[in-house]
Structure formats: structure tokens, C-alpha cells
């Protein structure tokens, strides 16, 4: 006789573990499935975890979470072939508890986070693939796994099965993802001694830095690259829309190799020993790609719900927040013993009213606009670099004349069209 639980959580990433933790803490009987050998073994992320959402779930996480470095410096690099226009903020207030965000290595972090849910009483089943949702009378009543006697039942199934959620697709919540809705990210973890990292990035021990790179690092394709400092390694990666890679017949690992050789990047990772090579899809469709989130006995959270804010490279915090909110709705539904779509819909309402829905709404047209108008990456970033070079090169030309030259660049491109482009960019980002 197959066992019945209060809740089945499919996938033990940040969203799934957040849900399982919240549910188990409230005393519900939870089973969580992970297809990998252990949670995190199949997950990939540049590696920034945000304190606020984590603390809401595990208040004392600082004591035990496998955090790499608290981030004190966030940089944005607009790259051209041989130059870079840099912006950034370094704030030592982030070096002190409670901190703002941290670099993490997912294989360690996810294992820890799932372990916290297990401490609360959730059951974690590894190395088990959930193959389908069991539906009866239009209600999801359980799941089928790939193991013998592999059925298990529950009042609610929470789908946290990642970007290409097979179960949500089976239920008809979303269609096959379009290449313009997902980015393919490839990254490498490169081992370097802590002192070298601290010297190269101007950090004290136990301080970290992030760099987001735009422009030449993706060869003008819509996407970003990143360089994050871990304790004794550097994560470096490139993510670009799948559609861009296909149209331009580019291979993501070639972009990563080119980035590693870029003259302004090379020295940061020089002498490091490559430790891991990872690749993963990232949902980038934003607000417009959010699928149906709720039906009778089922909810979708995290990447499976396409909850990623590409503009601010936030995903893990949206995942955790959505997992928690789904769990809170189930806890409420349990009190009235009603798990119909009507009741579970509170999750969708709460989510869309929270920062998750609001942020995704704010940038709902950003990625599409940037994607349809390659000028931003292909022309304005190089222009920015040329303008900076012009202004900062001392060659006997007066600053008045230099400003004229810079304005000349804009006129070359067409003043009106530049203003239009900048207005359009401002409108989608405001």
C-alpha cells in the first residue's frame, strides 16, 4: 500500500528545500525527492545567495551554512575588446553581520539546506526521479517515481523540479520552453589560494567580490558573464540566451574560453587550477513566461515557475521566497482541509504581490527589448569605452574639444536614434 504524506516536494534545490523546511517546521508530514546523488549534485548557479530570504527560513543560518564569502563589493564591467568601463560599489557595512549576500558553491549549499529541512522532520529521498504526477478527477493526488512500487500520495504536490519542469509540462501548465526564454550558462570553478584572491580583488580575508560583465564578454549576444570570489576558488561563467547562441552558431564554452583569455580578465584567474566545469539552463523569460502556478493539489515554485530576475541576476532568493510562500499557503489549506485550486491560489496572489512578482513585473519588457535591439550591447558599450578613453587620454587636446569629440560619436550614430534608444532602455528599467 503506497504511503500518503501531507505534501510531496519534487526537487531539493533552494525552492524545494525552502518549502520542505517551512512545512516540516509547522509539523506537516513532508517527503522531498531529489534525482541527484545528493541535493546540489546536479545544480548550477554562479553562486550568490541572499541573506534576507534565507534568514526568513533558517534564522541561525550563519552558524552552519557553508557560505564562501560575504560580498562587500559588486562591480559592473562594460567590456570592449581591449578595454573595460567599470562601475561598482564597495561597502564595508556588508562585511559585518548580518551581511547582504554571500557567494556559495551549490553542491555544498543545497546539501546543507536540504539537511536543515531534514532536521525539521522532512524525509529526503535521493537518487529518485519523479516521472509523473498522478491525477485523479482533475486533482493531483500524488507522484510516480522511477523506482519499483514507486507511487506515493499526498494532499499537495509542490513542483520545484527546475527550469525545464517536466511535471508542470505534463500537467499542461507551460509549453515547451522557447530558446528565447532560457539562457544557457556555462561556468568553471577555478582553485586559487585565498591570499591570491584577496590580493587580486583587493579584499580582506572573509570578504568577497562579484563582477558582472557585459558587452564583449558575450560577443554582443544578450547575456552576462560573471566572476565571483569563493573562499579558495573563483567561479567564472557566461550565460547567453539560447536563441542568440543558435542564431549566431556560437558555442557557450567558446565564449567562456574567450572570456578567460580576455586581456582585462586573464590576470584575475592566472595560475588557477580548474576544478569543475558546469552547465545549466536558466529561465530568462521573466514575467511573461510565468506559467500557471496553481491547480487542484499542485503548486509550482522556483525555476520551475520561471522565477528569475535576469536584470539583477537574482534567482535563488526568488526560489526560496516562492517555496516559503507556497508552504505557508499549504499550512493554511491544511487547517481547513481544502487543497483545491481556489484555496491554493492564495500562493499565487501572495507571490505576485511580494517583491518576487513586483520585481519581475518591473522588468517585464527589459530582456525582450534588449534582445530585439542588439545596439545596446553591440554599439553603446563600445561607444562608452571609446568615450572614456577619449576623456581620460591626455594628449594636449582641451577638455572642451574632447567633449565635442565624444558628442561627435553620438552624432555619428544619430542623435535622435541615440536618445530614442536611451529612452527606451530607461522605460523598461525604470
Amino acid at each position: 500500500m503506497a504511503e500518503k504524506f501531507d505534501v510531496i516536494v519534487v526537487g531539493a534545490g533552494p525552492a524545494g528545500s525552502a518549502a520542505a523546511h517551512t512545512l516540516a517546521k509547522a509539523g506537516l508530514n513532508v517527503i522531498m525527492f531529489e534525482r541527484g546523488e545528493y541535493p546540489g549534485s546536479k545544480n548550477v548557479m554562479g553562486g550568490v545567495i541572499y541573506r534576507h530570504q534565507l534568514q526568513e527560513i533558517v534564522p541561525d543560518f550563519l552558524e552552519s551554512a557553508p557560505l564562501e564569502r560575504p560580498i562587500v563589493q559588486q562591480n559592473f564591467w562594460m567590456m570592449d575588446e581591449k578595454s573595460v568601463f567599470q562601475m561598482g560599489y564597495k561597502g564595508l557595512e556588508w562585511a559585518e553581520a548580518p551581511h547582504n549576500n554571500f557567494t556559495v558553491l551549490r553542491a555544498k549549499f543545497d546539501q546543507w539546506f536540504a539537511g536543515k529541512a531534514v532536521e525539521q522532520g522532512a524525509l529526503l529521498i535521493n537518487e529518485t526521479v519523479v516521472t509523473e504526477a498522478i491525477v485523479e478527477d482533475g486533482k493531483v493526488i500524488g507522484v510516480r517515481t522511477d523506482r519499483p512500487n514507486g507511487d506515493v500520495y499526498a494532499d499537495v504536490v509542490i513542483l520545484a523540479d527546475g527550469v525545464n519542469s517536466l511535471l508542470a509540462k505534463q500537467l499542461g501548465f507551460h509549453k515547451e520552453l522557447k530558446p528565447s526564454e532560457v539562457a544557457l550558462a556555462v561556468m568553471q570553478v577555478i582553485n586559487l589560494p585565498a591570499e591570491k584572491i584577496e590580493d587580486r580583488f583587493n579584499l580582506e580575508p572573509n570578504q568577497g567580490a562579484t563582477i558582472e560583465l557585459f558587452g564583449d564578454s558575450t560577443k554582443g549576444l544578450l547575456g552576462t558573464s560573471f566572476i565571483y570570489t569563493n573562499k579558495e576558488s573563483i567561479s567564472i561563467g557566461v550565460g547567453t540566451l539560447l536563441s542568440g547562441l543558435m542564431e549566431n552558431r556560437m558555442k557557450p564554452y567558446e565564449l567562456l574560453e574567450t572570456l578567460k583569455q580576455h586581456p582585462v580578465v586573464r590576470k584575475l584567474i592566472q595560475g588557477g587550477e580548474p576544478k569543475e566545469y558546469l552547465a545549466h539552463l536558466i529561465p530568462e523569460g521573466g514575467y511573461h513566461s510565468i506559467p500557471k502556478l496553481v491547480d487542484h493539489g499542485v503548486m509550482v515554485v522556483g525555476d520551475a515557475a520561471q522565477l528569475v530576475n535576469g536584470i539583477h541576476r537574482e534567482g535563488s532568493n526568488l526560489a526560496m521566497a516562492s517555496g516559503r510562500m507556497a508552504a505557508e499557503t499549504v499550512i493554511m489549506a491544511k487547517q481547513v482541509n481544502d487543497f483545491s485550486a481556489n484555496i491554493l491560489d492564495a500562493y499565487r496572489t501572495n507571490l505576485m504581490n511580494s517583491f518576487v512578482g513586483q520585481d519581475l513585473k518591473k522588468y517585464k519588457d527589459a530582456a525582450h527589448t534588449l534582445d530585439r535591439n542588439p545596439v545596446y550591447f553591440k554599439e553603446y558599450i563600445p561607444m562608452m569605452n571609446r568615450a572614456a578613453s577619449e576623456m581620460f587620454t591626455v594628449d594636449g587636446v582641451s577638455k572642451w574639444d574632447k567633449q565635442k569629440k565624444v558628442m561627435g560619436m553620438v552624432q555619428e550614430k544619430g542623435t535622435i536614434s541615440t536618445i530614442r534608444d536611451l529612452y527606451r532602455a530607461w522605460k523598461v528599467m525604470k
Partner: protein, 273 residues
């Protein structure tokens, strides 16, 4: 029928690194796994149980984190598991380990007598193949090592007939129960554990016995009870790359045969006619 299986948690030696200074295993460099031979021992015990009825109990000795291998055995179908874990066991060699495990087994069999004891042929970290036979000797029990097949088993007559792998063939042996059997990996293919076993394992809380929970003479435990002296540890010399033979297939075969026959003396030893 009561089957007991000895299992050990080992570092995954396929990825483990050597500490370049001490030449000992750097255990932090590799995940901990169940000794692969032991998982086949559990599988065999579970198969016998499924066929002839009874119960499978696993016993392991190790640090507290070794509860994970007990849980793994529950996934594989074992009914119960005990971990003996205490600082007093630290530093035990094979003699002291076989003593500690024997005493744990005695306690387990107080509740329910044991008919067959299974163990892996050897552990992949130490490769000694001594602990299983050591336990059998202490219990004055016959031992069948390197078993690749259980041919027949009679619960009424209490006899088992097995195939043992020996140097140049297979030995078919019969023994009365109780008996201790160490297994090779080819004895069976591991079953993909059914979901109810996975759920049971996730919920399972293994018994943990300290040195106070079993009847022992402390002088026979740990470093004190371990006469083995490690004289020297060294990493094996790195094999230098051999000669690379290139050319067409015919040329390559000719060069290689020429070397084997004329340089290494193939066919001259009289082994092949």
C-alpha cells in the same frame, strides 16, 4: 533464518587523493560510500531472506557519520542495523576490529541466533580481507571466502552450497550453518531499491552502541589491541608512459607482435603450443 552482514564505510578510493606529506589517504578529498563488496553482501542476504524468510541485520563499526551506510543497507532491503561507535575503537587494526565486531555480533545473536554471516571480500581502503575470516575464527565457525554464487540453501537441513572463486577455477563447497561467507561483486547485481525501502531508510534511526553497550575486554580494542605495525607507507612509483606505436593497422600489429615475440619472449615459455 537470521542473516547478519558486516559493512564498512570507506572513502571512495576511485577519487581519493594521497596526502603528499604523510602518504596516508586524505579522507576529506573523497565522499564516503558503502564498501562496494559489502553492498553485494547485503543484496545476497536480502535475496535469501526474500526466498527463505527471516531477517537481515547489518553491523558496522565506525565514526557516527557511518550511520549513513546502515541507512544505505536499509535501502537495499536490510531490516535492522547497529553501528558500534566509540573513541575506544579508534586505531583498531584487523585483529582488534574483528574482536569488536564479534562482540557486537554476540550481543545481536542473544536476541536471535545467527545462521549466516555475510561480509564483503575485502574493504577497498585497506584491501586486507582479514576481518571477515577473523570473526569466523573467533566464533569457531567455518568460513567460505570469495563466494561468487549460492547454489543451494536449505533452511531445514541448515546447509549451504556455494561457488568460490579460486586462483585457476571455481570451487564448489558445502557447509553447515552457521557459516561466514565473504562475497565477490559478481555474486549478484544490485537491485534498484523499491520506493518503500527508500522511505523506510530515510526514516530509520540505527542503534548506536558505545563500548559500554557490548561486553568487551578493553585491552583488545583500539591501538592497544592492535599488534599491526605499519613500517612504511609510500606512493607507488608513477608508471612512465610506454612507447606509442603508430602507423596503419597492419604496421601496428606487426610491430607489436614483433616486440612480444622477439623482445618479451611470447610463446617461448611453453605455455602455449
Amino acid at each position: 533464518m537470521h542473516y547478519v552482514v558486516f559493512v564498512k564505510q570507506v572513502p571512495d578510493t576511485s577519487v581519493v587523493k594521497l596526502d603528499p606529506v604523510t602518504n596516508t589517504l586524505d579522507r576529506s578529498s573523497a565522499p564516503s560510500i558503502i564498501n562496494p563488496y559489502d553492498s553485494h553482501a547485503v543484496e545476497e542476504a536480502v535475496r535469501l531472506k526474500n526466498k527463505y524468510g527471516g531477517k537481515v541485520t547489518v553491523i558496522s563499526m565506525g565514526p557516527p557519520m557511518a550511520v549513513d551506510v546502515i541507512k544505505k543497507c536499509i535501502e537495499l532491503g536490510a531490516d535492522d542495523g547497529v553501528l558500534i561507535s566509540d573513541r575506544a575503537f579508534a586505531g583498531s587494526d584487523t585483529l582488534a576490529t574483528s574482536y569488536a565486531l564479534t562482540q557486537a555480533l554476540r550481543k545481536v545473536s542473544e536476541k536471535e541466533p545467527v545462521d549466516v554471516i555475510f561480509a564483503g571480500k575485502q574493504a577497498i581502503d585497506g584491501d586486507t580481507a582479514q576481518v571477515g575470516p577473523g570473526v569466523a575464527r573467533r566464533l569457531s565457525m567455518p568460513v567460505l571466502a570469495q563466494v561468487i554464487h549460492v547454489e543451494s540453501f536449505s533452511a531445514e537441513k541448515k546447509v549451504i552450497r556455494v561457488h568460490r572463486k579460486i586462483e585457476d577455477g571455481v570451487e564448489i563447497v558445502e557447509s553447515k550453518l552457521p557459516v561466514l561467507i565473504t562475497v565477490e561483486k559478481e555474486i549478484n547485481d544490485l537491485t534498484y531499491a523499491p520506493l518503500p525501502n527508500m522511505i523506510k531508510a530515510a526514516k530509520y534511526k540505527p542503534l548506536i552502541w558505545s563500548v559500554n553497550d557490548i561486553e568487551v575486554d578493553r585491552d583488545q580494542l583500539g591501538l592497544k589491541g592492535s599488534p599491526t605495525v605499519v613500517g612504511k607507507i609510500f606512493a607507488p612509483p608513477k608508471q612512465s608512459g610506454g612507447q606509442k606505436v603508430t602507423g596503419t593497422a597492419d604496421e601496428v600489429v606487426k610491430t607489436v607482435m614483433d616486440k612480444l615475440v622477439n623482445v618479451h619472449g611470447l610463446f617461448t615459455g611453453g605455455g602455449v603450443s
